[in-house]
């Protein structure tokens, strides 16, 4: 990103584009990647309500996937997934990412 001159910066350093942090990708921080199995998922949303990175994607109240551009791989989702279901598995990033 090109640095702005002082004339281009809004007064008070206001950021006018609310939520523009999503253009910053934190997915490269990941050591472990959560792999979601839609077959096993019961859509209880335990992972979604616990995710610190808003990285569990929903549609009409149901889980549809994981936002790998922002997921930092903390593993809370896999930990919170009910033991009997285990629909999310953490795998070493370099083993699954090519």
């Amino acid at each position: 990103m090109r640095e702005k001159s002082w004339r281009e910066i809004p007064i008070g350093g206001i950021i006018e584009d609310a939520g523009n942090a999503e253009t910053y990708e934190t997915g490269s921080w990941r050591t472990y990647r959560p792999i979601w199995d839609p077959e096993k998922c019961i859509h209880c949303l335990a992972c979604w309500i616990a995710c610190p990175d808003s990285a569990i994607l929903l549609e009409d109240g149901k889980m549809i996937g994981i936002d790998y551009a922002h997921c930092k791989g903390c593993g809370i989702c896999a930990f919170e997934c009910p033991d009997k279901i285990s629909a999310i598995e953490m795998k070493i990033e370099t083993d699954v990412n090519d």
Binding site: D17, A21, E22, T26, W48, I49, P52, G75, I76, F79
Partner: protein, 309 residues
């Protein structure tokens, strides 16, 4: 009252791409708060982890208006915004209901922002103050705060030959806020999302000032694996170290009474910051903390009984 299923139908108001550590539970608390409060909310946050990681210039993770002013004055800043809103409403220039939420970490609330918070509550602004308590100044490198538990190893109270971690008990902030006689005070944690969400909803619906103290485990400062953040939040409740309760117009209600109260050592186990307490020489400290937790829990049960009548 909103359970996760109902919240799931609402718009996500905290964008990903913020720079919090992996497994940061304060961010989970922010998401749960925003999902409950909705988009017509003005948020102010004291300097601290949440403020720093969500608003690294030129980015913001907030899809609501957000104000950062300084470390000590988030309550004063938001009370000013609320006063302006009241005036604009009176003048007929604004019509819709807007929520005002001020926040601070334990450093910005227990210590640095306490005066601004106390003043805002006393003046009776229609606002909610949320303290996200991760029990030390985590953002600057884990220095002890007024909210740090006794026996905690931090970078300014390192456990060693001289001291076994912090030597003082934490400041009873929730009780200080109860003593302000405001309409609503509560203790919560994102480890119990429905309970926390219910409290945010209640606090915003009530006319007048409200305060919620939210325990938010910090994987880096507490030294446990990041995936266990929610578990450590729940263990704090199960051991009665962090009872979930609310005080509505002076009436105390305990939201969760553990069937089997776990010993505090169950919560300490696995947290690196308490590792030294399990050495033979420090065993007495755990007993001392347990006695204090028991005393406060018994007192809370009695206070509930007294105020319910």
């Amino acid at each position: 009252m909103p359970a996760p299923k109902q919240l799931a139908e609402r718009k996500e108001l905290l964008a990903g791409g913020h720079r919090a550590c992996a497994g940061c539970l304060p961010m989970t608390a922010m998401r749960q708060m925003l999902l409950t409060a909705g988009k017509d909310t003005v948020v102010g946050c004291a300097t601290g982890c949440v403020e720093v990681v969500t608003t690294i210039y030129p980015y913001t993770a907030w899809r609501t208006p957000f104000i950062h002013n300084a470390f000590e004055n988030s309550a004063a800043t938001i009370s000013g915004a609320e006063a302006a809103y009241v005036s604009l409403r009176k003048q007929g220039k604004i019509d819709k209901k807007i929520n005002f939420v001020a926040m601070g970490g334990d450093g910005g609330t227990y210590d640095i922002g306490l005066q601004a918070l106390s003043g805002a509550m006393e003046r009776g602004h229609n606002m909610l103050y949320i303290c996200y308590d991760n029990q030390a100044y985590m953002n600057t490198g884990i220095q002890r705060s007024g909210g740090t538990p006794k026996g905690t190893a931090t970078s300014t109270t390192p456990a060693g030959k001289v001291i076994p971690g912090k030597t003082q008990f934490p400041k009873p902030l929730t009780e200080i806020m109860i003593a302000h006689d405001i309409p609503f005070v509560a203790q919560a944690t994102p480890g119990y999302p429905k309970d926390f969400s219910d409290k945010v909803e209640k606090a915003l619906a009530i006319d007048g000032p409200a305060f919620i103290n939210v325990l938010t485990p910090c994987t880096r400062g507490w030294r446990f694996p990041p995936e266990q953040s929610m578990e450590y939040a729940r263990l704090a409740v199960k051991t009665c170290f962090w009872p979930l309760y609310e005080v509505e117009y002076g009436v105390i209600k305990i939201n969760r009474k553990p069937k089997e109260k776990l010993p505090v050592s169950k919560w300490f186990e696995g947290q690196g910051r308490f590792r030294h307490l399990f050495k033979e020489a420090n065993k007495g400290i755990i007993d001392e903390i347990q006695a204090e937790v028991d005393r406060k829990w018994e007192l809370l049960l009695k206070r509930e009984e007294l105020t319910q009548a």
